[in-house]
Symmetry: C2
Subunit: 417 residues, 2 copies
């Protein structure tokens, strides 16, 4: 590795990175060590101002696009070459944690500061990006900033979204943009050489496997369904089992059959029935109706398609003598990250001597939309017991810094190309 690159990586400052997390966590702090920082809220504006103040203190160029995505640029030797982007989001779930999203923003800031302190001249510019409204907790849908930036959605399509108090996104966004009047405006979807997002894993795999770095191979696809089972209510004491159309028993059989069908020795398939509603839900009446959710995910397109397509027939067969109705409720195909970006992250982790593993992302991220417009990758660091979207979300200063070092090395690699 180049001497100046090594210097930059050494300058990643665990304490500074940790303290910035603590400062950000004060904005929208809620009991239990959590954060409530809704998109385009007063707290969101405060977080943007704090980020911009750190960037301006270093004389980085700050800009903002029409959906409020914030960009912080460290220029490269070839200012007209497409930059390498890195970031995540600063908004949170209503009862969110101190690391989800904000880590990727602060890790990118740490990386460009460390690179700047080391005086490294990169060929390409490096840009931090803080995406607007990734969580979708206040205004639906989620990953809105990257969707609009990349053109997957238009600003007009999302501007009418309302929060639970009837506030329209258009107005909240206008306030947010007006709150940072000195920040330069920028266009959507400027060319990008690559995009890297650092994030807490939000799952337990790294902790379970004793790894510090997750080299993310893509974002898995998902299929959601509501399965309705139609039976007939009957007296629990008098009705022989052979003549029943018991919707609970049928639902149980369907769930077991689906579980059998998706059984995966590699434990990659995610299959969850998290919601069940029974009618009439009386202990001495045979159930006439059950509605339950099916959440199926897999990183491989063909697999997630096959799994999704199998649900209706398996449910129909297993539910007999009850009948079923299957309603698809969500449908996302997997994205696969760029092989050279994945290799760059993996090499960086290896050169830094960090225990690492490849894994797909179970949750969705802005990297999904970015992967459609440029070579993209993600770096995961462990979070305690995999807990996320929860005040108890936790990560260690050492792991966060390790991820920032891998990010720094990867950005230097990609910005040199």
């Amino acid at each position: 590795m180049r001497e100046d690159h090594q210097d930059a990586i050494r300058r990643v400052d665990e304490t500074r990175l940790w303290q910035r997390h603590a400062q950000m966590a004060q904005i929208g702090a809620i009991p239990g060590n959590g954060v409530n920082r809704a998109a385009f809220s007063t707290e969101d504006i405060r977080a943007r101002r704090l980020l911009v103040s750190w960037a301006e203190a270093r004389n980085f160029e700050v800009s903002m696009d029409g959906i409020g995505n914030v960009f912080v640029r460290r220029p490269g030797l070839e200012p007209n070459a497409a930059p390498v982007l890195s970031g995540s989001h600063m908004d949170s779930q209503p009862r969110g944690g101190r690391f989800d999203g904000i880590y990727g923003v602060l890790a990118a800031l740490e990386a460009i500061e460390a690179i700047d302190e080391a005086g490294v001249k990169t060929r390409r510019s490096i840009e931090l990006v803080a995406w607007s409204n990734e969580e979708g907790g206040r205004f639906s849908p989620c990953t809105m900033g990257s969707a609009v930036y990349t053109g997957a959605k238009t600003l007009g399509e999302v501007a009418g979204a309302q929060d639970n108090d009837g506030v329209v996104l258009r107005d909240a966004l206008a306030e947010t943009l007006a709150a940072l009047p000195h920040v330069r405006k920028r266009e959507f979807n400027a060319p990008a050489a690559a995009y890297i997002e650092a994030h807490i894993e939000q799952g337990p795999l790294l902790e379970l496997e004793g790894k510090t770095i997750g080299v993310v191979t893509g974002i898995q696809g998902l299929r959601w369904f509501n399965v309705e089972v139609f039976g007939e209510t009957a007296h629990a004491g008098t009705t022989p089992l052979r003549v029943r159309k018991d919707a609970v028993r049928a639902a149980v059989a369907v769930i077991q059959a689906l579980a059998e069908h998706i059984r995966d020795p590699d434990d990659i398939v995610r299959f969850t029935v998290g919601r069940m509603l029974v009618t009439p839900n009386s202990s001495n009446s045979v159930a006439s109706h059950v509605l339950f959710s099916v959440d199926l995910r897999h990183p491989d397109l063909a697999t997630v398609q096959q799994l999704g397509e199998s649900v209706a027939e398996i449910a129909r067969q297993a539910a007999a003598p009850c009948t079923v109705k299957i309603t698809p409720t969500l449908h996302d195909d997997p994205c696969t990250f760029d092989a050279s970006v994945v290799a760059s992250i993996e090499n960086a982790a290896g050169r830094l001597g960090l225990a690492h593993m490849r894994l797909p992302s179970g949750a969705s991220h802005d990297a999904m939309y970015m992967s459609r417009v440029c070579p993209t990758g993600m770096i995961f660091v462990p979070c305690e017991k995999g807990v996320s979207h929860n005040e108890a979300e936790n990560a260690t200063p050492g792991d966060l810094a390790a991820g920032a070092r891998v990010l720094t090395a990867t950005l230097l690699d990609l910005a040199s190309r």
Copy 2:
């Protein structure tokens, strides 16, 4: 069979019996051909007056005890010999049908009228009884009239029960007793030679088997439990299945394991999971808690005991890695009807050439309490698709009359002993 007994059975009048059902169904009629005749209500008092008017038109002796049970007596040759009792109840579920309970009362009236018209002299008196508050739909608990009559409960124990409007049973009962001031008072628990209750099956077995008469062998025992499964919530996209503690999957496994354990080739065991509550009940969160009900019934004491005792261990094993908590919520041992009464009913059905079968009662009846104080049996007739506790409850005039004929023959047999 004695000529006069044959004459009495011939005098059972299908049309009269059906028309009396229709008259009673007008008292508390609700849309959909149903009946709402709550215990000790205005409708209940009207039903009592109608019954008493029919009894007095025939010069039968009418009496009423302290809980409002109505007795109609046709004296036998030996007035001091313990009488044979037959009846059921006149109250209904809030959305009840036209046959549940009232059929047993009207069949007993039809029997003693037919016997009277035939001029049969029986050794023992025959008494119709209309039990108060069998349903428990307004005042809990159910089968109250027979419980108090037989001494299983005291009047003081039940008198404080309140309905949903805060009316106290003591007051509603006092109004009911005062509404029939000319009716003679009688004591609880006078000696009885036998008790026979005719009832619609409230299940589908007779219809399924093509039988007109059910010779009831007893009332099955039951065990009710709440099973709670404790897991851990987790992200449906990120958490590998092998590390989950998924309360829905564990509950499904427990229900399947219980169903396997109770599998009964004779289809006598009743096993129902009618109620399920999932927490947090979100489609993309692994469930942390499931509560479900278990309703287990069987006519045999040892079997119902064994089944009940097996629940906790089966649930504990099948739920792993989740944990379970089992809470018993109801516990009734089976009652077995008197062999000679069962044989008398069976012989009567046979002699009348009616297709019949032995079966246990899935639901509870006043016959349960009576079986503790005298030889007891029950006669079932089919109801359409087994539907009961429902406005759609239905039975045919021919089946109702057939049951009344079997009842008449049985009463004549037992009253001759």
